[in-house]
Symmetry: C2
Subunit: 424 residues, 2 copies
């Protein structure tokens, strides 16, 4: 199936926008520019008055937790976890995991996300949602090494890799998901690192999210979480580190040395009052920083354009530098850097040879007026409701805001049904 987007306005990798056609051959972008009239398109889509951006990459989420959206907010972290989140999670069955992930898939496609990196349990249900929705997914089994089910989870993660790595025409990859240094003892992490290296898998892990975590780690091991990860061999695996809020200069050096990629979650870090990650320092040190929403129970949505905007705004005020994270850098964090962060080498840019993961914004309405600078409008003014069309791997998942792979009404119904059951 070859698709030609005619007369689009394209956001190029350098952050500029220019009129261009986009020719998609199979699952890849074949040409960007003036495509010859005789190019063999099965389908021609008029993309005039549309801004084509690389599909957003949600570099850290827990899709099934979308089922917990608005269940508990404005609480202290341990109160929230112990009295609300863990008890309700204990009631979630495979059916809930599935419909939670399907609800997330609806929301992600409608807000222009084309790839998500996920960590949770019963991940074969999340894989199913990715397969059915057509989304690209990087899945890991969240493992609490210190929990009674730690070993089972480890086995499940290995099985997940065997069953799903490179599945769905390569749309799914699998990582190992040790939850965090404070929930996985060093011996467990060493075994995970060994298994990951043996299976050529990478690792997705929460790192240095809160001040307390770092203080406890220093007390228990005399090392920061990042240093401890070096020690356990985790850093040798290729690491997607979620949060990375509290980092020493040495931590940042280590992250650069081992090519650790950070998934920055500004919305979640703000809402949970975790802190502000040193994103400008990380970028200066050459560390790849993608963006994530975290789970919808701590965000409370999966809207990547919001995270892009938050990243652009938060680090300006944090560093008191209005030049920090300019619009084009913020959008790169949500696309190209995100793709690198989750370990997908050839998506996140609209250029020939890349996987055809494309989001089209209809530049309609006051938010897009006047049009001095489209990248500024995208990052600082528009919202995801102007997303019109979403393509993943060369296949259109949404057109004119209608989902083509998912039954939105049914999914909302089932998600509400599951939510009512688990919250009873």
């Amino acid at each position: 199936m070859n698709t030609l987007f005619k007369n689009a306005t394209v956001l190029f990798p350098d952050g500029t926008t220019k009129p261009a056609d986009i020719a998609v051959q199979g699952n890849k972008i074949a040409q960007v520019g003036s495509v010859a009239p005789d190019w063999q398109a099965d389908r021609i889509i008029d993309a005039s008055e549309k801004l084509a951006v690389p599909g957003f990459v949600n570099a850290h989420t827990h899709a099934s937790m979308t089922l917990l959206r608005s269940y508990a907010d404005d609480m202290n972290l341990m109160d929230w976890l112990q009295n609300k989140i863990w008890p309700i999670e204990a009631k979630m069955k495979k059916d809930d995991i599935y419909w939670g992930a399907m609800l997330a898939a609806v929301e992600m496609i409608k807000s222009g996300t084309t790839t998500f990196a996920d960590m949770y349990g019963d991940m074969e249900k999340v894989a199913e949602a990715a397969i059915q929705s057509g989304l690209r997914a990087v899945l890991s089994r969240g493992m609490i090494g210190s929990a009674p089910n730690g070993e089972t989870a480890f086995e499940e993660n290995k099985q997940l890799f065997r069953d799903y790595n490179n599945a769905a025409d390569g749309r799914i990859t699998v990582m190992f998901g040790p939850h965090a240094p404070y929930t996985c003892p060093p011996a467990f992490l060493r075994r995970v690192a060994a298994a990951a290296q043996e299976m050529h898998a990478e690792v997705h892990i929460h790192l240095a999210e809160t001040k307390g975590e770092v203080e406890n780690c220093l007390k228990d091991y005399g090392k920061t979480p990042i240093e401890l990860m070096e020690d356990t061999g985790i850093l040798d695996c290729g690491v997607l580190g979620a949060h990375c809020v509290y980092l020493s200069d040495h931590d940042i050096q280590l992250m650069a040395k081992y090519h650790v990629r950070a998934a920055h979650n500004p919305g979640s870090n703000m809402k949970l009052a975790s802190g502000i990650a040193p994103v400008t320092k990380l970028l200066q040190a050459g560390v790849c920083v993608g963006l994530g929403t975290d789970g919808a129970s701590s965000n409370n949505n999966l809207d990547m354009l919001e995270e892009i905007r938050l990243a652009a705004l938060l680090h300006k005020v944090d560093t008191l530098d209005p030049l920090a994270i300019p619009a084009k850098e913020a959008v790169r964090m949500g696309t190209e850097y995100g793709a690198q962060a989750v370990g997908i080498k050839n998506t996140g840019r609209i250029e020939a040879g890349q996987l055809a993961d494309i989001t089209l914004f209809a530049m309609k309405g006051a938010a897009w007026c006047p049009r001095y600078d489209l990248t500024s409008l995208l990052v600082y003014s528009a919202d995801s409701s102007s997303i019109d069309t979403v393509m993943v791997d060369g296949k259109i998942l949404m057109e004119n805001r209608n989902l083509l792979t998912l039954d939105e009404e049914r999914i909302l119904f089932e998600a509400n049904r599951c939510a009512m059951r688990i919250s009873k």
Copy 2:
């Protein structure tokens, strides 16, 4: 004209949501609850599956600057002002002021704002936009006391008061708009304070927006901007102070003592890297804090729900307290506190006796699912694209997202035309 919203879900002043009908008689809310079937409604609107919230109050903006949206971003303040904003503003004529304000009106109504507090020049054109759109407006002529046109501006502000205070069935009120302590010498401010008191007008002024402003004020006058305002008599007038980012404890005491109301602009303060206002301290001290977008050239939109969310998120991470500015307090800042801040006593709450300024959200789509807590969904998950109906002063300005008082297409066309002219 009496309107009955049947079967709405209402956001009550205490932050809870419950099913209720809303009966609107003339320009006021007559009843909230179970309205008797024989209540004389000229029009009955089915509001089932709709969340009725008080219309948002944008407590600080420069509507006509919407024409400069995306013209210049990601720059240092003085570079931005001197090399981009001031030169293009110098080219703006009355026609541009008008269409800029009309563009703002389109955007405000579509994003659920019912009242805006504005400061700019040629304010009779903004008044015209308010009259035509049906919005409630609190207008002030921005006066640079130290500029050659300072006296003219002062006269214009007086004339604006005489022509428009209490105009449009009381929808418009007028304040004095001395721009800021650093642009208006104390002698000028004293005259403004005297004129305002004589005319029974209040004052809208930028206060303590940047660190440099406060440092210079201390150097020049040995007082903080707030202390200087006490000295000049401005604080005796009833003051809407925009920004209030850099405040000493004494400043906060003064603000409480003189009932100064703050317009907090989280998006603008973040984007311009001004700093983080001590909002939780202000609220604790009993100071009224509303929310504003500031102008669209430094935001870059007029979406109050975004400001509500930013306020809720920013002060959590700033204070490292996840309980700071909970959802229901954030929405109050964008509604009830905003109304108090701009000096309108009887709007901002959905209850009998209040002015009928109401925004209805259609609770459709993934962002509203599941529905454990509607206030949380409103503040942390939904976006303004789910706003369906907007009523101001008992009159419907938008229904099913269609603007009833404004010709959206024409306004976007004219705004683009003006933008092309001034940016040439």
